[in-house]
Amino acid sequence: MSAKRNKIFLSSFLLLLVFGCANQQKNILESDESQLKLRSIQSRSYDISDKTRLCRTIIATLQDLGFIIDKADENLGSISGTKRSGYSLRMTVTVRPKGDKQMIVRANAQYNLITVEDPEPYQDFFAALSKALFLEAHHIE
């Protein structure tokens, strides 16, 4: 009976392993949410044309939220940071112009090993950024 129990245990772990291996390949390019939905959750546009000011305000906002800045590139308009608070929360924020008077800010976050696809944390982030910029965030269509 004990041997049978071991078999059941072994087979369930093998099953998990197989699922795990299949996922490793799949995870490279796949996300759970649809691409457009994710973009709209993670992006906002602001009525601002000064890229440097926007980048610096994003840095200050991330710091207020407890992040340290890991990388920043003004030319590319990208800023990455990590928050460590028992967990690791990594975030990359990019900035790109939309016409002459607007900028699109896109943020994506990774909580430990999981991509954050829940809208609420992004709403919190953009609320904090809007407060720091004294500007209203517009949803992207």
Partner: protein, 177 residues
């Protein structure tokens, strides 16, 4: 008796899977906390100058004095990331682990390695003032290579000491020393 045992084992495996798959971000992870203003004040000092490059250079020099390696920098946005690895083996913890091994025959893991990150940014406030903000975070691994600490450092003394050293470094930089 066999049936319930198998059931228990299966439930345990599925419970583990459930825990792994249901990790979600804490609801306040990206909310401004009431302490964020006090934290910002603790981590920031303002220098009366308009020379941001000079300030950044003084900061980099100080980080080097403190044994940090510069990992990343972007002068146009006033960003420096530095880190430092250290052995944090504590004699008291070693003694505790030895006592546990002798008394109960169990190997107790103790803190071994620490990586400290120092994230420094500069930001011009107006024509004459530049704010410098430093944030320290650290990760600590034990002798079994498990991550036991992964957090921001909030100790006010560390920040005060850093800024008192930075004032000297800025003075030296301004004097071209």
């Amino acid at each position: 008796m066999r049936q319930p045992n198998n059931f228990l084992q299966f439930s345990f495996v599925f419970f583990c899977c459930f825990i792994l798959s249901c990790q979600t971000i804490p609801h306040d992870a990206l909310k401004l906390s009431p302490e964020s203003l006090a934290e910002r004040q603790l981590q920031t000092r303002v220098f009366e100058t308009n020379d941001e490059k000079m300030i950044l250079s003084a900061c980099a020099a100080l980080l080097q004095d403190l044994g940090y390696q510069i990992d990343e920098s972007e002068t146009s946005l006033g960003v420096i990331l530095a880190s430092r690895d250290r052995d944090v083996t504590d004699p008291a913890q070693v003694a505790g682990a030895v006592a546990m091994a002798i008394l109960f025959g169990v190997a107790t893991p103790i803190d071994k390695n620490q990586k400290v990150f120092a994230s420094l940014t500069t930001r011009p406030l107006d024509e004459k003032r530049i704010a410098v903000r430093i944030i320290f975070q650290h990760m600590v691994w034990n002798t079994q290579n498990q991550l036991v600490k992964n957090e921001c450092i909030h100790d006010a003394k560390i920040y005060q000491e850093f800024f008192s050293k930075l004032s000297k470094s800025v003075f030296l930089e301004a004097q071209g020393l």
